[in-house]
Symmetry: C2
Subunit: 380 residues, 2 copies
């Protein structure tokens, strides 16, 4: 079916204009492809709420080594990705190589940090174990009760909202078509994708990338065995602001239950809850209370900060906490979703590898993240 | 000096368009006076932030019996005042005769409640002492750990923002001139008031009522001994909202350190800090944390409520916590300020009595609140 007005059918339609969708779109356009992105800007996705901590080392989990390798590869790609993005747009996305300090509130926490540290060492990660006094020398705002810490010098931060704005600009410059409409359905013809449907009608495309975050799991048009097993996982966080009297430290600071990210513009993010609440995005008094309590335990001066607002968004969770990246069993339909808590961190490598897959039909290093891995009878 | 365009010089200019200033203005206009009110609507005063608890009985303090009598007189005036206001404007100001339940978190609190209850009884106030189970039968949302309570059936609530809106409408209907400019100076000619100065120039008036809340203490133009000893006392509070799962009880509920006011529109107010911070109105993370913690101790279900926002404003504090009501030593200059934590409650009686004073030169029952009582050598 020819497109209206004889315009060329896009090589690829991307469902979702968050950090993942836009990174893929931009990288596809850089490879000479004709790209359309669809998203409703009124729907606030996880990218707009995320704190932007880039912390593969301090977030490492037992049993998730393939994800760790992908996270680290993306963290290494960050400087060049941001460099290109800033060169194309002039936007300062507040990428800061600040490092992260993971602290123990009490001796129980410190015992847990010792285990985490041992695991990080077996993985060959760059970490340093600090005593309480060493940690407080680095970050004088830490509570005197802190028992110990791990310094991860390569866990950094970025401002996801600025990065979104920059990616939108970069996409427009690269002639990506951005359509401010949500995709309601993916159009198939037998086992082949043919385009996407929005409120304005059907937009044909040769390939489709599903990068819709939490909403990916309820997109219409796909057979049940192809629909990605992505569920919404609610996260709430707080925005505080430095006042004349007090600023929080230079590094990302995290306890076992909370993290505090200080941006260069004086904004301080306290995050984040992890809640299985379906599609609910209510900002609750209980979450505000808990986040402030936990932050106060490690950084007591937080009480002097200005309270700006609280926010909530839905992460795209998956059964094994790893994303779905690669071809689906529908010809031309590629998955790039389920990034759970790692969406900001994984945007550069997802952009690179999925664009490569769209352009060439192949991409390296995505085997462990095959969308088929959850299908019954599939070989892991 | 004739006013511009030959318009009549107002009988009275009122400095401040909060609940106090507008109540006076409306009552003056009802008595046939020509009235001007001056306020900058961009400056958010205490009236716009107040929770609107009308609680003379549960807020009673030792040594403040004259203030208690004035508070009770104003509480008794409330139904007719609101009735007239709603009849004139059609605005529902959410006046609710809900009663207030004062609860003890633990046995220390309960010992304190016993003393408060004994004091309330010596004053002849209508109060009822409740056991924990009785309190929880009335308000099932109370924490099981509550040790006891006092029910004050005549401590009610109103929505101060709706009341402000209604008073503005009532004033406009009654031909009060509302000028959206802050008074920068009170104009005197020897020992007589002649008008007020705003950014637009001097507005002459035969009498001036200073009803500027916390800002009354730094108005220009007055000799030091006349300037009211009013200081800003910061209060922070939270707006929460009922969700499908949970609403807080029907009554005002207060502990010794926090109160929770549920409006009929589902809004729930948690207040309030009392802070001596000068002119600072920063909303702090520490206050949000403390208010939520204290509310949670008596109403644990509060965690399920939606967090809407936090606010701060400045109450007009005075050396003895009582307002300054009546003639000053400057002819034609009347004080109606320093209402501290009782501004919403005292608006009706302040409106009545100060309007009477403006119209007739005399008013009953204000002796204890004479503005001169703080002047050195004055007889109490």
């Amino acid at each position: 079916m020819p497109a209206k007005g004889g315009a060329k059918i896009p090589d690829v339609a991307i469902v979702g204009g968050g950090l993942i969708g836009l990174s893929i779109a931009w990288q596809c356009a850089q490879r000479g492809l004709v790209v359309s992105v669809f998203d409703d800007p009124r729907e606030r996705g996880a990218s707009e709420v995320a704190a932007g901590m880039l912390a593969p080392v301090t977030e490492v989990q037992y049993g998730e080594e393939p994800l760790l390798r992908l996270n680290i590869a993306s963290a290494k790609r960050y400087p060049s990705f941001i460099g290109e993005l800033e060169a194309h747009t002039g936007v300062d996305v507040r990428y800061r190589r600040c490092g992260t300090l993971m602290v123990a509130r009490d001796s129980d926490d410190n015992a847990e940090l010792a285990e985490v540290f041992a695991f990080q060492q077996t993985l060959g990660l760059e970490v340093e174990r600090l005593r309480s006094r060493q940690a407080r020398e680095l970050e004088p705002g830490l509570a005197p009760s802190i028992r110990g810490a791990i310094l991860a010098p390569n866990d950094h931060q970025v401002d996801p909202r600025e990065m979104l704005a920059a990616l939108r600009m970069a996409c427009v410059s690269a002639r990506v078509t951005l359509t401010d409409e949500r995709v309601t359905r993916i159009e198939l013809d037998d086992d082949r994708v043919t385009g996407v449907e929005t409120v304005s009608g059907i937009a044909p495309a040769n390939k489709v990338v599903l990068a819709g975050g939490a909403a990916s799991g309820r997109i219409e048009g796909l057979p049940p065995e192809v629909l990605p097993p992505v569920r919404p996982v609610k996260g709430q966080l707080l925005h505080l602001a430095a006042t004349g009297m007090f600023g929080v430290g230079d590094r990302n600071i995290r306890g076992l239950e909370v993290y505090v990210v200080s941006r260069t513009n004086g904004r301080i993010i306290v995050g984040a809850t992890v809640e299985e609440m379906g599609w609910d995005t209510t900002v609750t008094a209980g979450a505000v209370h808990e986040l402030l309590r936990r932050a106060y335990e490690i950084l007591p001066g937080i009480t002097e900060l200005r309270f700006v607002r609280s926010l909530a968004a839905l992460r795209p969770g998956t059964p094994d906490n790893a994303p779905l990246l690669g071809d689906s069993s529908i010809e031309g339909l590629i998955m790039a979703t389920g990034h759970y808590r790692n969406g900001v961190l994984l945007a550069p490598i997802t952009g690179d590898r999925i664009a490569e897959l769209v352009a060439t039909g192949a991409a390296e290093g995505l085997e462990a993240f095959s969308p088929d891995r959850f299908v019954k009878g599939a070989v892991a």
